[in-house]
């Protein structure tokens, strides 16, 4: 048993989730692969979205996977960092927009 919660080698075993429920696992991977196909958005654009979301979700497996995916697509590190800032901006915006609720509550409670 691994002594850490995340082992990079576990990423290779992702497909094994189907072992204990083949039907749902297969459906998930079919869906997953379809999502990343070229569509109205390019596969390249989808890869950058995935990279940003990997960070906002703080998933180390996903960060490894989509960093490599970006390199394979010839995406530059400057583009990768720019995508991350989109995720970071939304994250900080999410925090700050709740400030309105805080302000509403203060205004309601204070005389």
């Amino acid at each position: 048993m691994s002594k850490t919660y995340y082992d990079p080698a576990d990423l290779r075993k992702f497909g094994a989730i189907s072992d204990w429920n083949e039907e749902l696992g297969t459906k998930f991977f079919d869906y997953y692969n379809s999502v990343f196909e070229e569509g109205k958005l390019t596969a390249r654009e989808k890869s950058l979205i995935a990279l940003a979301v990997s960070h906002t979700e703080q998933c180390p497996y996903c960060i490894d996977a989509y960093t490599k995916d970006a390199l394979q697509r010839g995406i530059t590190k400057e583009e990768m960092m720019e995508a991350l800032h989109v995720g970071a901006a939304i994250k900080s915006g999410v925090t700050l927009v709740h400030g309105v609720q805080m302000m509403n509550k203060v205004n309601q409670l204070e005389m």
Binding site: T42, R44, K68, L71, R73, G74
Partner: protein, 351 residues
């Protein structure tokens, strides 16, 4: 950035037997990953057999003006292995009589062979349909004596295939050396100026893309689109096709994989991306690779691992195309590099 070849550094990995040992040990020996022979046997493709010869690839020598990080030839200015005029004459006899439709000159920088121009002039007389010279581009700007190479290529209707790892300076120079990007751009502009790579032009100019690190190349068509857009917008450069080539885990790239602790992951990535339908079209089945000293190999990679053809005929001096047909191809775990994803060859993807 390396400045000397593995040979000059007297590295352990300059020895091809050591490389083959590494490729058969570790994750392949303990059964974690299947050996290439077992993998292709799953689909009844073992032994891999040569088909009719289509491409004659000749390595004119390992000397090069660059010392690229990923070079599978371990080429560089310190390599002295250069094809002699006598061996070239033997090659010319073969070129005159071959059934192959493509002649592919490579190196090192083939232009650094002192008899390069004479050889091209003579070989072009044979009228082979597609006559390729793999030029690293910077050689054209390396010295005044090479400045007229574009004109020379044009005169002999040579198909120029050049390496270009990325459309940005940073990635290119990191893999190929400081200043390589700017020189390559200038050389491409020189080639464009005389008609190479222009739409509808018969003067073919193709680019080769190798990933600049421990990852596989992306989709060739998508990469070509990105390269074309960026090079046109930024430098007004045009070219015909992009060949996306997987780095094979041998020589300097193997050295890099081990030193950067990426070897296991890279081999996993190659095996995971194994595509049985690419096996039928791998280049070793339609190619003969000839070394600077005239030995025959199934491909350029086997040449660097010193795995000679499994045939009665092993040297240019006894060349016999009929006898080379149907030979068994020599394989090892590096072959996973040519069967990953859409496959990989000196002409890019195979499917």
């Amino acid at each position: 950035m390396a400045t000397k070849s593995l040979h000059k550094r007297e590295s352990d990995l300059a020895n091809s037997n050591r490389q083959l040992e590494i490729l058969s040990n570790g994750i392949f020996k303990n059964g974690e990953l299947p050996k290439f022979a077992d993998k292709i046997a799953e689909t009844g493709q073992f032994p891999l057999r040569a088909k009719k010869l289509e491409i004659l690839q000749i390595n004119l020598g390992y000397m090069c003006n660059q010392v690229c990080e990923h070079c599978h030839v371990d080429a560089g200015p310190d390599r002295k292995e250069i094809m002699t005029k006598t061996t070239m004459m033997q090659c010319l006899e073969v070129i005159k009589n071959t059934e192959a439709h493509t002649l592919d000159l490579t190196g090192g920088a083939p232009e650094m062979n002192p008899n390069f121009r004479w050889f091209v002039e003579e070989a072009s007389k044979a009228g082979i349909k597609d006559f390729i010279v793999r030029s690293n581009l910077t050689i054209i700007r390396a010295n005044k004596k090479y400045y007229d190479l574009p004109q020379f290529f044009k005169k002999h209707n040579v198909h120029v295939v050049s390496s270009m790892p990325h459309w940005t300076r940073g990635k290119t120079d990191k893999q190929r050396g400081e200043g390589v990007f700017d020189k390559s751009i200038k050389a491409l502009q020189d080639l464009n100026a005389i008609g190479y790579g222009m739409p509808e032009s018969s003067l073919k100019l193709d680019l080769v893309y190798n990933p600049s690190g421990a990852f596989l190349p992306g989709d060739q068509v998508a990469m070509e689109k990105d390269f074309k857009k960026a090079l046109l917008e930024d430098f007004n450069i045009q070219f015909h096709q992009l060949f996306a080539i997987t780095n094979l885990p041998i020589s300097r790239f193997l050295d890099y994989l081990i030193a950067s602790e990426n070897y296991d992951d890279y081999m996993y990535a190659l095996v995971d991306a194994y595509n049985p339908s690419a096996v039928a079209s791998v280049m070793c089945t339609n190619t003969i690779s000839i070394s600077w000293d005239g030995w025959l190999y199934d491909c350029d990679f086997n040449q660097m691992l010193d795995l000679k053809v499994a045939s009665k005929v092993q040297h240019i001096s006894a060349y016999n195309e009929g006898l080379l047909e149907n030979r068994n191809i020599i394989i090892s775990q590096h072959c996973y590099g040519c069967t990953a994803g859409a496959g990989s060859s000196c002409q890019g993807s195979v499917i």
